[in-house]
């Protein structure tokens, strides 16, 4: 990672050249190519919705169960296929090194957005895979699930690619709406709908702040396009206090999406409420997208260096974010310490991980920050694998329509399911950031970037938070490995192949990535391409 990310190198020059290329009123094929993965998601999502709608009567009549199951097989298959195709498209776009703009600069495709897109697609794929078992077991095989996931994925891809405030807001809202619905997906469950409601109210509330922030930025600079905003700020044309207020509110809004303290409060409840597969999906993809966008927004839209004497916008935002990062890391990990439910513990630990990611963002904003974006991307990858796997496990453990979420429920897992326990051990070790797993390198890159940027205190706080986090990850290990089961876990549910696949694949990937951390996305894709 010794190179400066390409998207950053061409940051300003691109703005100028792109401006010359604008040909108003025309939508070219290239434009569609740029958003192809998102289009594939939208297309499959719509197709699945149609399929579900027009066959719903079929599935609810007294027709044989066979029909119903073949229908869901078809839906599952289609969903996964769509994801794979989208992934392939994203891989293809990864090939092109130079950033490109589309739809009158509303969309910007560069290596950063492609990398994050791939992570999102990966997360989507794994979630859909895990959902096959889960939905069957919880008898919740409605077509909307796939449709919602696909739409959410599509909006996340657009979110990541957004180069314009309007696009940004549009994408984040569609994404959020899908997420609200996913949370309350188990609509017969009180918890699920309660979580959905809370998520919705607070989400909309934060959207208001986000929109206000974006508006103020727009008002201060007169621009909607990120590069133009940067230029305007650099040129000193922008109204400084208006701009700062706007940036601050944007950070608040985005802070909500990533789950930073004190904007986190929706997160534990929503995570607990949502069906485990959906929690896994949201926890990785929504967070990845939001973190990526926050980083991109701050990098692209803020001016590179401040005038002498006054603190630059970047510097101010960076110190605000440092405070948020510290609070988030400590809060998440400390509260996770006190949870009795594994799912809630994971929710709080997710908040903690947000804190680490914010450290990466802070590092990216400062001098010497060219390492940080890659560090953030690298962090997202193992995080995606770990989260999905562990939420899949939560789903797998569920029996009779109930989650088994307490720590005690995991006792003796290592004797009844040794292979699964081993995978889980790997995953938890990775969560704790211990080699030889990918989680270790993720933390390494982040903290290294922080130290390179002179944010040693942030790194120190991160280390302290990590020490706290050891305890609750270990607590699960203790229950799995060291305490005998009070009651034998029932036999494997008939459908657990996909869950097992997800967990195993994640564990193996984490180890491989831990042993060969230089297998970055880029090189991986290149290796596949050749």
């Amino acid at each position: 990672m010794d190179h400066i990310p390409t998207f950053l190198q061409s940051k300003l020059s691109l703005g100028q050249s792109a401006a010359a290329e604008i040909s108003p009123g025309l939508v070219s094929a290239g434009d569609f190519q740029a958003i192809l993965p998102a289009l594939v998601f939208i297309a499959t999502g719509t197709l699945l919705l149609m399929l579900d709608c027009f066959t719903r009567g079929l599935s609810h009549t007294d027709e044989t169960r066979k029909n119903r199951s073949s229908l869901s097989t078809a839906i599952n298959f289609l969903g996964l296929l769509g994801t794979v195709v989208a992934g392939a498209c994203a891989c293809a776009s990864m090939e092109q090194a130079d950033p490109s703009l589309a739809f009158q600069n509303y969309i910007r495709v560069d290596s950063f957005s492609s990398a994050v897109s791939l992570i999102i697609i990966l997360g989507t794929f794994f979630s859909l895979l895990a959902a096959i078992d889960y939905l069957k077991r919880f008898d919740a095989e409605h077509g909307e699930f796939h449709c919602l996931v696909h739409y959410a994925a599509a909006s996340m891809l657009l979110f990541v690619q957004a180069n314009n405030l309007i696009m940004l807001f549009l994408a984040v809202e569609t994404l959020s709406m899908a997420a609200y619905l996913l949370t309350s997906y188990l609509r017969d469950s009180r918890r699920s709908v309660e979580g959905g409601l809370k998520y919705f109210i607070l989400g909309s509330f934060s959207s208001g702040f986000l929109l206000f922030g974006l508006t103020l930025v727009f008002g201060a600079t007169g621009e909607l396009e990120l590069q133009e905003i940067a230029k305007s700020i650099a040129g000193g044309e922008a109204d400084r206090s208006l701009l700062l207020a706007g940036m601050a509110l944007t950070v608040v809004g985005m802070g909500f999406k990533v789950g930073a303290f004190p904007f986190h409060s929706w997160l534990p409840d929503a995570y607990e409420a949502a069906p485990s597969v959906a929690t896994g999906f949201m926890s990785v993809t929504v967070k990845s997208a939001a973190i990526a966008v926050l980083l991109r927004f701050l990098l692209l839209a803020a001016e590179p260096a401040g005038e002498a004497g006054t603190a630059s916008v970047t510097e101010i935002l960076s110190s605000v974010l440092s405070l948020l990062a510290i609070a988030t890391m400590l809060f998440g990990n400390l509260v996770a310490l006190m949870q009795n439910s594994v799912k809630r513990m994971l929710a709080y630990s997710a908040i903690g991980h947000t804190g680490y990611l914010l450290v990466g963002i802070v590092a990216a904003l400062g001098p010497g920050g060219e390492l940080a974006p890659d560090a953030v991307i690298f962090y997202l990858l193992p995080y995606t694998l770990m989260s999905i796997a562990v939420f899949t496990l939560l789903g797998y453990m569920g029996r009779d329509g109930k989650d088994r979420e307490l720590f005690e429920d995991y006792r003796g897992l290592s004797t009844s399911r040794p292979a699964l326990a081993l995978c889980l051990l790997v995953i938890l070790v990775s969560f704790a950031g211990i080699p030889p797993t990918a989680g270790f390198w993720a933390k390494l890159y982040i903290f290294r970037a922080a130290i390179a940027g002179g944010h040693t205190w942030l790194a120190l706080t991160g280390i302290l938070a990590s020490i706290v986090s050891l305890y609750f990850y270990l607590r699960l290990v203790v229950n799995i490995y060291m305490r005998p089961a009070e009651e034998e876990l029932d036999a494997d549910p008939d459908s657990s192949l996909a869950s097992g696949l997800v967990i195993t694949a994640a564990a193996v990937a984490l180890v491989i990535l831990g042993l060969f951390p230089d297998l970055e996305f880029g090189s991986l894709i290149k290796a596949l391409g050749k």
Binding site: L165, I166, F169, L170, E173, T174, M177, Y180, L181, S184, R187, D188, S189, R190, R191, V193, E194, G195, G196, L197, K198, F200, I201, S204, F205, S207, G208, L211, F212, T215, L216, F218, G219, T221, G222, E223, L224, E225, E228, S232, E237, P268, D269, E272, A273, Q339, R344
Partner: protein, 112 residues
């Protein structure tokens, strides 16, 4: 008489704040939904004000794409607000079916 930008912004801030207050203080989910709409509309007002501000008396744009874009922005926000309201009501229905209540503070299963 021309409305100065500052005045417009104060107005929209006030509308936004009323919305915020509503969300914070109201128990009825319907009212909260309305308050949320109020927040978005307050911001909408600001966008429009900015758009107007970016157009000089001569009718040409003061800066960049701002002036025309603001109108697009507003329309999109309106659309989003509508969609959001739909989603919100859907969730509200589900909640009401399960909880037989529309008081937001009743839902306290998830906490801690």
């Amino acid at each position: 008489m021309t409305l100065s930008l500052d005045l417009c912004l104060y107005l929209c801030a006030a509308v936004f704040s009323i919305g915020v207050y509503g969300v914070l203080s109201r128990q009825n989910i319907i009212v909260i939904l309305m308050s949320l709409e109020l927040m978005l509309n307050g911001v909408n007002l600001a966008i429009i004000s900015f758009g107007r501000y970016f157009i000089t008396p001569e009718g040409s744009a003061l800066s960049g794409t701002g002036a025309s874009s603001s109108q697009i922005f507003v329309i999109i926000v309106l659309a989003i607000a509508a969609a959001e309201a739909a989603v919100g009501l859907a969730i509200l229905l589900a909640v009401y079916r399960r909880w037989r209540s529309a008081r937001v503070s009743d839902m306290r299963l998830l906490k801690g």
